[in-house]
Symmetry: C2
Subunit: 231 residues, 2 copies
């Protein structure tokens, strides 16, 4: 019955870019800030995975009390959103309108996208469930521009973008969740051999044991681009 979520974002005001930084040390090492919170959250997520991020632990790592976080951040979900978008920032050369090799550019952009996510394996599975942040949108914008430059018409553009998105997301999510140690590999190997008469083709082509992920990604992407290229 209680009225909650009245719409305010967080208690602090909206201006994020304020550049004041006094040299105060109130009692702990540094004052809290959105930036520090997000950076530390990314560290923890990298180390412990999505389920490993706990508000108390995050606060501990920052040298503050758990509830102090909530002045800067609405709730745990917001921490995820911020960490996610921060990790997807594009650090590449500015878009050159001149280049002729549009296809090479597309491949490079998508490989960079995938690499960014694989550097933070929790990010891939998180991305499709959350609202698209500014960094993702500008990656999509870039991609659209390059494809257009390559001759894809507006009528075909959405299908092309979504196809590439689907492929990259699927590949990256799968890869990110499939980290086998050597022991695991051996176990899987054995399990599979045991099932070899039920799944003969899978066994014959060693589908689940082929671990050249990067090469397979690249080859599949090439095929997809072959199919998408304007005739």
């Amino acid at each position: 019955m209680a009225a909650k979520r009245t719409g305010a974002q967080s208690k602090r005001s909206q201006r994020i870019g304020g550049s004041l930084q006094s040299a105060r040390e109130p009692h702990s090492e540094q004052p809290l800030s959105l930036e520090r919170i997000v950076a530390t959250a990314v560290e923890l997520l990298d180390g412990q995975g999505v389920d490993g991020l706990k508000m108390r632990q995050l606060a501990d790592r920052l040298g503050s009390g758990a509830m102090s976080l909530y002045w800067h951040v609405d709730n745990k979900e917001a921490v995820f959103d911020l960490a996610l978008d921060s990790v997807l920032e594009y650090r590449g050369p500015p878009q050159t309108v001149e280049s002729q090799d549009w296809r090479g550019e597309v491949v490079h952009m998508l490989e960079d996208w995938r690499a960014s996510m694989l550097r933070h394996p929790w990010s891939a599975s998180l991305l499709p469930r959350r609202r698209l942040g500014p960094n993702i949108l500008s990656r999509l914008e870039r991609l659209s521009n390059t494809l257009t430059r390559g001759g894809v018409t507006d009528a075909d553009l959405n299908v092309a973008i979504w196809s590439l998105w689907n492929y990259v997301m699927g590949a990256t999510i799968t890869r990110a969740n499939f980290n086998l140690s050597d022991d695991d590999m051996a176990a899987a190997q054995q399990r599979l051999t045991r099932l070899s008469e039920r799944y003969p083709t899978i066994e014959r082509t060693r589908l689940l044991l082929d671990n050249d992920w990067d090469g397979a990604f690249r080859k599949g992407l090439d095929s997809l681009l072959d199919g998408l290229s304007p005739r």
Copy 2:
């Protein structure tokens, strides 16, 4: 320091197919069983999503105490695994070795796969994180066979399979998490217009507002198959 997870699957013995069913009503309505647990878990997941499944609620719905579940099931994760695989069972005609239209078969299989997952939207995002169950493996086996029949050599098979897997998973996960009400659509519309000078191409082609998901899936799949087809 405690030694846990000594390897036993669950306390009950392994035989699942035992056909004994006495007509007893001990105190509640029906005796528990793996089948009932899984079926009810699927119901709850359909209704409340992944985070909405609680062991206590599941037990309530089954008319039993929460801890009774644990005699049939190792832990909550096992419930997810079982629900997931149960939902991915292939209910289609048996594979006909004769058919010439291998490409039509592939499209049909993958559309069916996608449809099965979209009927239970929690399943798509869960699938890549868990070990592949028997029903997924046999779908992959089927797919491999059809592609082979279509002329794909063993050397190219894994790339083809993974490309299709990636595409289908990416498309389905994205779709499953992108369920906008009309209100949301209006809001997104507005938000986007506000950003139109930052993302002009996205705005121009209405990338995020184009909601012909089925058509886009089909077209993209066609392109991908074009690219993958042996020359």
